[in-house]
C-alpha cells in the first residue's frame, strides 16, 4: 500500500520534472503561435477593411498586402525553394550557411570583446585613477554609431592583411565588451566590506582577493552581461558585414534580399527570422553554460 503510494509519488515527481524541463519550450512555442496569429490577423483585418482601421477612414500604419507582409506559410515555403533562379541551393541551406558564417564572426568577437571587457573591469576596480581616466571614453565609445566605426576597422584590417571576416569580428567585439566591463566592475565591487576585511585580516594579496573573492562574487554579474553581449555580438557581426564586402554572411544576405525585395519578399523575411534565431540560439547557449557554472541560488535573474 505504502509502496504503491511511493511509486505513485515518484511517477508524479518525474512527471513534474518533465513539465518543468519542457516549460521553456512551451513558452517559446506559445510566443511563436501568438506572433503568427497577430501577423495573419492583421493581414486578414487589412483585407477585410481595405487597409483601413475598422469603422474609420484612417489608413492602417502598414499595408497588409502580400508584398508588404507575406503570409507566414509563404515565408516557410520559400525556405525550400532555390533562392536564385537556376541556383542549386534552397534558401534554407543558403541561410543556414550564412548564419554559421556570421556566427563564427560573432563568436570570435564575443570572446575577444568579453576578455577585453573583463580585463577593463579588473583594471578599473584596482585603480580609481584608471577608472576616472578611461570610463568616460568607454561610455563615449558606445555612442559613436557602429556604421561610422565599421568602415574604419575594415580599412585598417585590410592594411594589416586580416581576413575581412576578422575585421567584422573586431566590430562585433566593439559592441560586446561594454556590457561586460560595466557588469564585471559592478560584480567585482559587490562583496560586503566585511568580506574584503576578512581577506585583509589574512594579509591576502590583491591577486588573492581578486581570484578568491571578487571574481567568484562577480560571476553571476558577468554571466548576465554575457547574455546581453551574445545578442550584441550578433548585431555587431551583421552590421559589420555591410560595409566590409564580406560575401558569405547574414548581413550580406539581408542586403541582397532587400535589393530584390519585390521579386521575393518572403526571402527577406526569412533572413530576418534567421538573424533573430541566431541571436536567440547564441543567448540560449550562454544560458546553458550559466546553468552549469552558477548554482540556482546565485543567479541574478530568473
Amino acid at each position: 500500500m505504502s509502496n504503491m503510494l511511493q511509486s505513485n509519488q515518484n511517477a508524479m515527481a518525474s512527471g513534474q520534472m518533465i513539465v518543468r524541463r519542457l516549460r521553456p519550450v512551451f513558452a517559446f512555442l506559445t510566443i511563436v503561435i501568438v506572433l503568427i496569429a497577430v501577423w495573419e490577423g492583421y493581414k486578414a483585418l487589412g483585407a477585410a477593411t481595405g487597409n483601413k482601421v475598422p469603422f474609420t477612414g484612417f489608413e492602417l500604419p502598414i499595408r497588409s498586402d502580400d508584398t508588404s507582409m507575406p503570409h507566414v506559410w509563404d515565408i516557410f515555403q520559400a525556405l525550400f525553394r532555390p533562392a536564385r533562379r537556376g541556383g542549386e541551393d534552397v534558401l534554407l541551406i543558403i541561410l543556414t550557411k550564412s548564419a554559421l558564417f556570421t556566427w563564427r564572426e560573432a563568436a570570435l568577437g564575443f570572446v575577444v570583446g568579453s576578455v577585453i571587457g573583463f580585463a577593463l573591469g579588473v583594471a578599473f576596480v584596482h585603480s580609481t585613477l584608471l577608472e576616472q581616466g578611461f570610463m568616460p571614453y568607454v561610455v563615449a565609445s558606445q555612442t559613436v554609431p557602429l556604421l561610422a566605426i565599421a568602415p574604419m576597422i575594415v580599412i585598417w584590417g585590410s592594411r594589416l592583411n586580416w581576413p575581412t571576416w576578422g575585421s567584422v569580428s573586431i566590430i562585433s567585439a566593439y559592441l560586446t565588451f561594454f556590457p561586460v566591463t560595466i557588469n564585471t566592475l559592478r560584480g567585482l565591487r559587490s562583496p560586503d566590506p566585511t568580506a574584503v576585511e576578512l581577506m585583509r585580516s589574512y594579509a591576502a594579496t590583491k591577486w588573492e582577493v581578486l581570484w578568491k573573492l571578487r571574481v567568484p562574487a562577480a560571476l553571476p554579474y558577468i554571466v548576465t552581461a554575457l547574455k546581453v553581449s551574445a545578442t550584441a555580438s550578433v548585431i555587431g557581426a551583421i552590421v559589420g558585414e555591410l560595409p566590409s564586402g564580406v560575401a558569405e554572411g547574414l548581413g550580406r544576405a539581408l542586403l541582397t534580399f532587400m535589393y530584390y525585395y519585390v521579386s521575393g519578399p518572403e526571402k527577406l523575411f526569412a533572413s530576418i527570422l534567421f538573424a533573430a534565431l541566431l541571436g536567440i540560439l547564441f543567448v540560449s547557449l550562454i544560458v546553458q553554460i550559466e546553468r552549469r557554472v552558477i548554482p540556482a541560488t546565485r543567479r541574478l535573474d530568473e
Partner: protein, 269 residues
C-alpha cells in the same frame, strides 16, 4: 595574571574619521588597554561608542589617527601580516560559492597550507564546532547559529594568537545565543587563544569574560574595567549564581554612569 607581558597593548589609540570634513567623527579617543595571554576581554558600550572601531584598530583593519597598538611587542600591522588575528563579524561573512568545508579552508589557502594539511585542519575545526556532517553544505543551507559556528571554525583554523569578535552572536535568538556562548567558552578552553569580544549585551559580557571593558560614547573612551571573578568552567549554573547578578549590576551601573558622563573612579585603572 599581570606578571606576564601583555599580548595586546593599546597605547593612546585615537581614531578620527573624515578629519577636516563637516562629517568629522572622533570615534575612539586616548584608549589605553592591556590584554594578557589567554584572557577573555569584552568591550561593551552603547551603540556607536566606538567598539567596532577599537576592534578594527587592534586588528589593523584601519589605522589609528594617533597612538598605536602593539601585539607581543610588534606593530599591529606586522601582527596582521604574521597572521596573529582571527576575525569573526556579526554577519558570518561566509563566501556563498564555497561549501562549509571550503569556507573553513579559505584562510589556509591564502596562507599556503598544503592540501592535506588544509583538509585535516578543516575537519578538526568542524568537529570542534560540531558541524562535521555539514562539511559539504553551502552556507545558505545552514541556520544563523550554524553559520556563525562555521565563521568561528574558519577564524580558528590557522590557530591565531588572538581572536577578535565583533558582536558575533548579535543576530541570533536568545536560546541559540546562550548555547553559542557556552560553546565558545568550551572552544576557548581547549585552545590557548586570547579573545577580544565586542557586545552590547550585559549578561553576555559577564558570562563570557575575564574582564569587561565599559566604554562611553562620543568620543569613545574606556570608562571602567571590571574583573569578573566567577569560577570556571562556567555553565548554566553560572547564570544563577548570586555573584553573576552582582557583576551584572556593576556593569549596568557603570554603563549608566558612562552615559551620563560622570567618571567611575574606582573601576578605571
Amino acid at each position: 595574571m599581570n606578571e606576564n607581558n601583555p599580548v595586546v597593548s593599546i597605547q593612546g589609540a585615537t581614531k578620527v574619521f573624515n578629519e577636516g570634513g563637516t562629517d568629522r567623527v572622533q570615534a575612539v579617543k586616548d584608549v589605553e588597554l592591556e590584554v594578557y595571554p589567554g584572557e577573555f576581554v569584552t568591550l561593551i558600550g552603547p551603540s556607536g561608542c566606538g567598539k567596532s572601531t577599537l576592534l578594527r584598530l587592534i586588528g589593523d583593519l584601519i589605522t589609528p589617527t594617533s597612538g598605536g597598538v602593539k601585539v607581543n611587542g610588534k606593530h599591529s600591522k606586522q601582527a596582521r601580516i604574521d597572521r596573529d588575528y582571527g576575525m569573526v563579524f556579526q554577519d558570518a561573512t561566509l563566501y556563498d560559492w564555497r561549501t562549509v568545508n571550503k569556507n573553513v579552508q579559505l584562510p589556509l589557502e591564502v596562507m599556503g597550507y598544503s592540501h592535506d594539511d588544509r583538509e585535516k585542519r578543516a575537519a578538526k575545526m568542524l568537529r570542534l564546532v560540531q558541524l562535521e556532517e555539514f562539511a559539504n553544505h553551502y552556507p545558505w543551507q545552514l541556520s544563523g547559529g550554524m553559520q556563525q559556528r562555521v565563521a568561528i571554525a574558519r577564524a580558528l583554523a590557522f590557530e591565531p594568537a588572538i581572536l577578535l569578535m565583533d558582536e558575533p552572536f548579535g543576530a541570533l535568538d536568545e536560546m541559540t545565543r546562550e548555547r553559542m556562548q557556552l560553546e565558545l567558552l568550551n572552544i576557548w578552553g581547549q585552545t590557548s587563544t586570547t579573545v577580544i569580544f565586542v557586545t552590547h549585551s550585559i549578561p553576555e559580557a559577564v558570562f563570557l569574560s575575564s574582564r569587561v571593558v565599559v566604554m562611553s560614547a562620543r568620543p569613545g573612551r574606556i570608562h571602567a574595567i571590571i574583573d569578573i571573578d566567577l569560577p570556571r568552567p562556567r555553565g548554566f549554573e553560572t547564570r544563577e549564581d548570586p555573584r553573576f547578578f552582582e557583576r551584572l549590576t556593576e556593569v549596568r551601573e557603570c554603563l549608566r554612569a558612562g552615559e551620563s558622563g560622570k567618571s567611575h573612579v574606582e573601576g578605571y585603572k
